[in-house]
Amino acid sequence: MITLLNRELGLFLRPEDAGAPLEALPGWDSLLLFRLVAVLEEEAGRPLPVAEVVTAGSLAEIHALAVGL
């Protein structure tokens, strides 16, 4: 997912950023969160539970929601 985000959203995230609090990621903000949802929905071919995604604390948590864990 980190590779996908860096490619699609022009970020420079590292694998170890996956577990970090979202607010600790450089350049992270709520618009990027919406863009991430759009990218993941396109990739997964189904809608994501947006209400849960916006309260997720890290990219790892969002990934778990995206793959339906």
Partner: protein
């Protein structure tokens, strides 16, 4: 609404132990931040916020204590007649402060690319999407930035952040009185809400949302009269003076706290 540039408020030494009492409850959040720029922005926003709040309640910045409601909404501990809101983007810091009720503020680079795939569906109501499609293409992105900052400002004012879905409430076209609209474009809020958008620092769009709770325009916001009695006693025993920012910001702290005084 008070705005400042990040560079004017970044402390010289981000590891200065003096920052610990200034950041108070935010210290642990700050410690979890590893990236230099993220830490700069966090520390600078707290210094500005405390400075602005201190001016409003006429108390030393070190005595201003920031706390958070469960959804993340910031507030001034022990000072419940004043509401605050915060936004930071790129080089801009923005603080909203009012004694009238609730406030939310948001800023974004005016040319930030917003019309990217899938976003409109996540963020706009059907009414807004129709409205945007009627805006000249060259102006459309800027109009979307205006809508976005109004949505963020409103959702911060009601303390919801993004929990309140952005495609379930909206706003009308620019050049008209601003109010919250339902997805079909019918009115969603009444006279008690006021909104505004302005340009700051020549390249940011900033919006505010203000709910007038009917507290009136309290003239006396000095700490002694606004704070809980117990807190006043506690504050009077706090000796630490906040470290001053590298330089005084261009913050418009002389804007009267009527909520309508938008720093343009």
């Amino acid at each position: 609404m008070v705005h400042a540039l990040l560079s004017d408020w970044v402390p010289e030494n981000l590891d200065d132990p003096e920052l610990r009492p200034v950041l108070g409850r935010d210290w642990h959040r700050y410690q979890a931040m590893r990236h230099h720029h993220v830490r700069e922005r966090f520390a600078a926003s707290r210094l500005l916020l405390k400075h602005v709040a201190a001016q409003a309640i006429q108390a030393p910045p070190a005595t201003v204590e920031l706390a958070y409601k469960p959804g993340g909404r910031p507030y001034l501990r022990g000072c419940d007649q004043i509401d605050i809101s915060l936004s930071h983007t790129e080089e801009l810091l923005l603080v909203g402060i009012t004694r009238r009720g609730w406030i939310g503020v948001d800023a974004e680079l005016e040319d930030r690319s917003m019309l990217v795939s899938g976003i409109e569906r996540q963020v706009c109501t059907p009414y807004e999407r129709t409205m945007l499609s009627q805006v000249r293409e060259s102006d459309r992105n800027q109009e979307m930035v205006r809508l976005w900052t109004l949505k963020e400002a409103y959702s911060k004012a009601i303390g919801q952040g993004m929990r309140f879905r952005f495609n379930e409430f909206g706003f009308g076209p620019s050049g008209h009185p601003v109010q919250v609209l339902r997805p079909d474009g019918s009115p969603g809020t009444g006279e008690e809400w006021a909104f505004g958008t302005c340009r700051v620092e020549g390249r940011y769009t900033a919006s505010w949302a203000l709910y007038d709770a009917g507290f009136g325009d309290t003239d006396d916001t000095r700490a002694g009269t606004m704070l809980d009695e117990g807190l006043v006693t506690a504050l009077l025993h706090q000796p630490a003076e906040a470290p001053q920012p590298a330089a005084e910001a261009t913050a418009a702290t002389d804007v009267p706290l009527t909520g309508a005084g938008v720093a343009a």
